[in-house]
Symmetry: C2
Subunit: 292 residues, 2 copies
């Protein structure tokens, strides 16, 4: 099934996200052109069947997917646009406000750029970990602005659908607030918990339950990439995290007191546990809005 | 395969842990007698093939498994011993120091009591969720004291092995310190994160990745039972948690500053993420000590 308007797609950045998108597009017979600062990464992606190496000076692709870390999006977008790499552009980074703001400052053409964020990958990285179905059934947030061309939005929507994802439109600010809550803060919470295990004896850690592995799994992600993501969304992340940290400080104090035999504030612990169970249930029951 | 010395086992408390142990023993042809404050729970366990209802006034069982929440262990043990329910006793609660201390204060016979903690269940509860293989391949901590009879320890070790678990001996203080790190603090961290989701719009939560579900899964546990567990191990839990909370407060401050454009302390975020990744790797690589 080849979409007449999406015959050729250029993917800049063949990490797990870019390569997974490329693999999904290839499965639909779409021509995919691959670029990356790392020639070796492109080699791996090509060998995996994700497409062919992007050659300089070819005709513009229908769409270019800028699949680089958030802080690199503005410059990469500007460079791609200055070379007429494509007619329409989108990105995949998990922060939207700051990169969009800097892209505008750099003089990028914002009418043909649809900021995007396919949600699906948590900790894996590199083209070797890519999968054509990485985004199947998942949300793919699009944050077009007032002056974004409607046909550009339609094209990127089509990209999401070709990857099996569900496009969800919202403004960049809303996206970043939600991303802080459902992705960025959880990463830090997992890291803080996992960090407490760093000095533990292995024969003790072996006793850990599945639940311990679950709660710490996100901590496996790349610290440098995640420092960048958290920095780019620092205001919303710190806002979400300050409540979580304050709650932990409170229950810690209640338990310190309980340890001395004074159970005056033990009710605070129950309150947090109850609220946690309510939130967990809400998450488990959440279904995407279009679902019957 | 019937162990001559473990022909009859009484299980007091047919929640998920007691009933899972009963099912494992029944699979070995061992006679299991079931008791619980809830007659309905016993009915469910009996229907699931976990054993028969414990009758008053029978001969002592070879072993009684006190499978009740930690704060109820001392009184339940004393009552069982006063009725000569069994020759040897063990419990399954995830806190050891405080219940053992109170059992001694209540005048329980400590020479025939082997404090135990089979590790495996995280959030499920009730006899309906029980599984014969719940503890297969998992650790089962035993905390005998100086005056515990060696043959009692041998018998409870055998119980663990019949459930497919790996017995691990340590003192009660060491157990509680480890349990705080690998089970109790993680529960609170998961609850604090999940609590932040309690007021979020479902159409936003739907966007959450597998990682978000993982990090919050433990929050599904029973708040009342877990308040009891955390209270019983309050000193160690607060000790572990204070470091985690302090780290989150620190990175929160660093991100608040970053949100104003001042990245002076952003290195603290990377440090936490790096330490988290080291801890997560250490957990993933941890294998039980007897493994080749």
């Amino acid at each position: 099934m080849i979409d007449s308007r999406l015959a050729t797609v250029a993917v800049v950045g063949v990490g797990i996200v870019g390569t997974s998108i490329a693999l999904a597009l290839r499965a639909h017979g779409i021509r995919v052109l691959l670029a990356d600062n790392s020639g070796r990464a492109v080699d791996i992606a090509v060998r995996r069947g994700a497409g062919e190496r992007l050659a300089e000076g070819g005709p513009p692709a229908d769409l270019s997917v800028i699949a680089v870390p958030p802080a690199s999006v503005p410059r990469t977008l500007r460079d791609a646009q200055s070379r007429d790499m494509a007619l329409v552009y989108t990105d995949v980074s998990s922060v939207k406000v700051a990169p969009v703001h800097r892209a505008r400052e750099l003089g990028c053409d914002m009418t043909g750029f649809v900021p995007g964020h396919p949600i699906g990958n948590d900790v894996a990285s590199g083209p070797g970990a890519a999968r054509a179905d990485l985004f199947r059934g998942r949300g793919w947030v699009l944050c077009p602005e007032e002056n974004t061309r409607p046909e550009a939005v339609t094209l990127v929507r089509r990209l999401a659908e070709l990857c099996g994802a569900v496009p969800v439109l919202m403004d960049a600010e809303t996206h970043d607030r939600i991303a802080a809550l459902i992705s960025h803060a959880p990463h830090l919470v997992a890291s803080a918990m996992a960090g407490a295990l760093a000095d533990a004896a292995p024969e003790m850690l072996w006793l850990g339950s599945v639940g311990l592995h679950d709660v710490t799994r996100l901590a496996a992600a790349d610290p440098v990439l995640w420092t960048e993501i958290l920095s780019e969304n620092a205001r919303w992340v710190s806002s979400v995290l300050s409540d979580i940290a304050a709650n932990l400080v409170d229950v810690c104090a209640a338990l310190q007191l309980a340890g001395t035999g004074d159970y005056s504030f033990i009710g605070d612990v129950t309150t947090l546990l109850r609220k946690g169970r309510a939130g967990q249930r809400r998450l488990t029951e959440a279904e995407h809005p279009d679902k019957d």
